[in-house]
Subunit: 166 residues, 2 copies
DNA sequence: GCTGAAATCGCCTAACG
DNA sequence: CGTTAGGCGATTTCAGC
């Protein structure tokens, strides 16, 4: 099983850094029960192995002036691989699109977008997304309110699985 | 406009910490062009004012053993406020549900879920979500692949807006 | 008010056992 | 993995703009 190449201390490190990515190494070491140098070595290894992709401040979108969030469900005309990846490349270049996931089922892609206000989103929608090549239809849903937005992964679920399979 | 209570240095700090949340304070100070002490004070102020909600390591879900991601579109029978918030509370207690957004339109909520594998997601779907009170229907879409998943916000869009309105 | 300079304290991070 | 130790960063204090 993936994730089991990591020992419990590594998983503990990941869980702590997910919860507080700015924690000092000595604090982290104390929490996971080892001394600072091996702890730092583990963190570096986890970074280089790709378990840790980066560290990011979590910034309040509304406070910063991004008042609207929108999910856009996109259907394409062609689902040929070259057309799919062309659309993905376009999404990566649109700053208002923060996430782009290819889905199974009738919808080809779901996009999570942010914008300062409704009119700037509509500018993007009509001026960019709907005009883009190969886009057949776009259904948008405004986020009325966000009830939960947890950054990472549920480590408790992982631990439960690993102890059960042990 | 929101976000304009911040001066350009504050916005620069936020952008840098969004890009690398583990940057040292002296490096941050160098990048934003002030010395370390006032830089640290600004960071603390931004944290206390709620602009910065936290710092999180970005962990690779697949590497950790979360192989599947799913979007679930949920409709409820009742949209009375007490019923909406009851559903939101349930979502907050489901570890596999990482995001829960209330939407306008025909779909009441969109949930972003992760799971170690399909069968554990289906266990959650049939054992928890579909059984939950007030849930009328759930349409799920598996994420085939993720083309873009940027943490954070597009600061360049913000800067462009602010310079244009200045 | 703000910033920057200096000084202290604590942490980071080698090298070694 | 732990301990030691030297260098650097963090953070307070204080002076200046």
């Amino acid at each position: 099983m993936a994730g089991s190449r990591l020992d419990p201390i590594d998983r503990h490190i990941l869980a702590e850094l997910q919860a507080d990515g700015r924690m000092t190494n000595v604090e982290l070491a104390k929490r996971v029960g080892i001394s600072a140098p091996p702890c730092l070595r583990r963190v570096r290894t986890l970074e280089e192995a790709g378990y840790i992709r980066g560290y990011h401040a979590d910034i309040d979108a509304r406070e910063l002036g991004f008042e609207v969030a929108v999910f856009a469900m996109v259907r394409l005309h062609s689902q040929a691989e070259s057309d799919l990846s062309a659309f993905e490349t376009r999404c990566r270049n649109w700053p208002l699109v923060r996430e782009c996931h290819m889905l199974n089922g009738e919808i080809d892609f779901i996009l999570k977008c942010v914008a300062p206000d409704l009119s700037s989103f509509q500018g993007f929608l009509t001026g960019e997304l709907l005009k883009a090549e190969n886009v057949a239809s776009v259904k948008t849903s405004l986020v009325i309110r966000c009830a939960k937005d947890e950054p990472g992964l549920p480590f408790d679920v992982l631990e439960e699985r690993l102890t059960r399979s042990a």
